[in-house]
């Protein structure tokens, strides 16, 4: 068994836990953990080809941003909020957990059907990548599940902080899918940095807006945001 599978299993576990958790602080910790594991995946996948200095540097920066800076920003926001629990989600915790499980099944189905169409050509073109392609399959499953569960979190929770965490999970999922599909991008560090910078600024801006919402409404419940309608 390839070592990357352990990492992917940990990501899936963190996804399921976050769907069930109702404490905001626990959610931030989960997303920090997930960020670190997700950043490590390209590193682990590449062990066969040897580790380069730039790859390790990039891993460290990813961990710094996804595992440290972003969670720290989120913790500042959580500490200022009075009620630190998610109250009355639009879909209950058991139901969201169930939806997460269905999401896993669904992504296995999607990945399998994509593979049966495309991978024969791919492996025929790159015979030495057969092993890599097999790993890809699980990577893709994990990526799609993480992205889908992030969307579930984003849409079914009321606290603005949980919505940001949903967005971060979605972004993690897309990063994994990118790792599986678009290897070229990961070789271009300038581009990767730019994407990472965007993510960091996005969380910063969301954090500022969050703080203002908390200040103005005395809560971060998005149910309070309902004045603009047609």
């Amino acid at each position: 068994m390839h070592i990357s599978n352990i990492f992917l299993a940990m990501i899936l576990l963190s996804v399921l836990l976050s769907l069930k958790s109702n404490r905001l602080a626990a959610l931030v910790k989960l997303v920090a953990f997930q960020g670190i594991v997700v950043s490590a995946v390209p590193l682990v996948l590449n062990t066969a080809h040897g580790l380069s200095f730039s790859l390790i540097m990039f891993f460290l920066i990813l961990v710094l941003v996804k595992g440290l800076l972003i969670p720290a920003l989120m913790f500042i926001a959580v500490n200022k909020v009075v009620t630190s629990r998610e109250i009355e989600p639009i879909i209950g915790y058991h139901a969201s957990l169930f939806a997460g499980l269905i999401m896993i099944v669904l992504s296995v189905y999607i990945t399998n059907s994509l593979h049966s169409i495309n991978y024969p050509i791919y492996i025929a073109n790159h015979p030495h990548l057969a092993d890599f392609a097999a790993n890809h399959k699980l990577l893709l499953v994990t990526g799609i599940t993480t992205m889908g569960s992030g969307l579930i979190l984003l849409m079914t929770r009321r606290k603005a902080i949980t919505q940001v965490i949903g967005y971060l999970m979605m972004e993690n999922g897309i990063y994994l899918i990118g790792t599986a599909l678009a290897k070229v991008v990961h070789a271009q560090y300038v581009v990767e940095f730019a994407v990472l910078l965007d993510l960091l600024v996005a969380v910063l801006v969301m954090g500022i807006v969050l703080n203002n919402i908390n200040h103005t409404f005395d809560d971060v419940d998005t149910a309070l945001l309902g004045q603009l309608k047609d």
Binding site: Y167, V184, V185, A202, L225, Q227, L228
Partner: protein, 476 residues
């Protein structure tokens, strides 16, 4: 150098955060002029190497950059006078973010690398968010939250789409730079299945930012709650920049021989946007929201025009130019009215023409323009789109298109007539009409007028270059 168009506003923008208010205004204006200078240099190709690793000057990018630069001069002029009359506690933040926003949008217009383009579009969202919630009212916070979250999620989906497009290249065992220009060259070899999937995700992603229905829900809130200069910039420039992403991908599909598929997708989204705005504009109570829905309609028209191609694509490009000019002018006039009346409710704003003669005239003229009447350019562009659609044999599209146009005109006309001619209960004016604030909208309208009568050859040629990649020239 091409990159100057975004590097200079970036540096100036950061500087403005730390400068005193008065100096900040000077920097804002002078950066607008310098930006225009570099844009002119690029437009006439007076600079050195035009293609770098991540950037290039494509004709469509140059067209949008020129519009952006032109608009920004007058909007920043307006901002300076506007700021001296409203009290905004965080003015340096506002001016600084305006410049950062300009920088991000300029980067969108020249980005060539697929992922760099994505980075720039996401940056426009982030840089414009502070502009919207600068007043910190409950409504503006709600609008910003919706804007940031919906657009970020939408754009994240576009990133997924970009990965699919890149995979369609990798799976066919081709290795070129993942920039739009190099992908066009090898487009026929791309894997069509993944390309189609990528296109759908990119249209949904960037379409969220363009304001295509049904992903438009953030747009009326953000455009109506932000301060006037920001609304004008959002509507006149940002929507175009986001549309560039959809357009470039359509070009790629066309080059890959999947043009018909992508055309149909674009037309469907465009028609949906027109219908949605037709329904929501009818009973609008807020005039800035009314203008925002009109933006959704116009972006729908542009999308349809590009989807149909040929003559209609030429019309769509003209539509982009004139819509930007007229809509920003309308938002600036609306801002003058908002200052004068202190309310955005249509019911409480009567007799604009009598109370604010200058603004009343520009608002009315702008309304005539946006409804597609001569002598303004939208008349020609909409006519070209209709003719192009008939020539292409898309009769259903044409019927829905004309039906929505009529519905929107009827709905908006009722509201605008009420604002302009009905008498107000009290003639209380908070801030009187002044020339400095009335002049920028007038100039924008006059520009549209001039471009309708006389379209300079270089613009004509640029538009021809733009649309040559999606179904050829218009002659014939």
């Amino acid at each position: 150098m091409l990159q100057f168009v975004f590097i200079i506003p970036l540096i100036a923008g950061i500087a403005v955060f730390f400068l005193p208010v008065k100096t900040g205004r000077v920097v804002l204006l002078s950066t607008a002029v310098i930006h225009a200078f570099f844009t002119t240099m690029e437009w006439f190709k007076l600079t050195g190497p035009l293609q770098t690793r991540y950037f290039s000057n494509s004709p469509e990018g140059m067209l949008l950059l020129a519009i952006l630069s032109f608009l920004f001069i007058f909007i920043s002029l307006y901002t300076v006078f506007y700021m001296s009359e409203v009290e905004m506690s965080k003015e340096p933040t506002f001016n600084g973010c305006m410049l950062l926003f300009l920088s991000a949008m300029s980067m969108v217009t020249i980005a060539d690398h697929i992922i760099m383009f994505w980075v720039a579009v996401e940056a426009t969202t982030l840089m414009s968010a502070p502009l919207i919630f600068i007043r910190r009212s409950k409504e503006s916070l709600e609008a910003t939250w919706k804007y940031v979250l919906i657009c970020s999620v939408g754009i994240a989906l576009a990133l997924l789409g970009c990965f699919f497009v890149i995979f369609s290249m990798e799976i066919s065992d081709i290795h070129v730079r993942i920039s739009f220009t190099s992908l066009y060259a090898i487009a026929p070899q791309l894997n069509p299945l993944w390309l189609k999937a990528g296109f759908i995700f990119i249209v949904i992603g960037y379409g969220t930012k363009v304001g295509l229905a049904p992903m438009h829900t953030w747009l009326p809130d953000a455009h109506s709650e932000s301060p006037t200069p920001a609304s004008a910039l959002l509507s006149g420039a940002l929507l175009n920049c986001a549309f560039l992403g959809v357009y470039r991908c359509h070009q790629l599909m066309f080059a890959a021989g999947l043009g018909e598929y992508s055309s149909n997708v674009l037309i469907a989204f465009g028609l949906a946007s027109m219908l949605v705005s037709a329904v929501f504009i009818l009973n609008q109570k807020d005039y800035k929201r009314m203008l925002a829905y009109s933006s959704i309609e116009n972006m729908g028209i542009i999308t349809i025009g590009i989807g149909i191609g040929g003559l209609a694509a030429f019309g769509a490009m003209l539509h982009i130019i004139h819509h930007s000019l007229i809509k920003s002018s309308l938002f600036l006039s609306a801002g003058n009215m908002l200052l004068g009346y202190g309310t955005k409710l249509i019911d409480k704003t009567g007799g604009v023409l009598r109370l604010f003669p200058k603004t009343g005239i520009t608002f009315f003229a702008g309304f005539v323009g946006i409804s597609g009447f001569p002598p303004f350019g939208l008349f020609i562009s909409e006519l070209l789109i209709i003719l192009g659609a008939i020539k292409a044999g898309r009769y259903v599209t044409v019927s829905i298109f004309i039906f929505s146009l009529i519905l929107i005109f009827a709905g908006a006309a009722k509201l605008v007539m009420q604002m302009i001619f009905k008498d107000n209960e009290n003639d209380e004016i908070l801030v009187p009409d002044k020339w400095p604030r009335a002049l920028p909208p007038i100039i924008l309208l006059l520009t549209s007028l001039v471009l309708t009568i006389w379209l300079p050859d270089s613009i004509y040629q640029t538009i021809q270059n733009v649309i040559s990649s999606i179904g050829g020239p218009v002659n014939g």
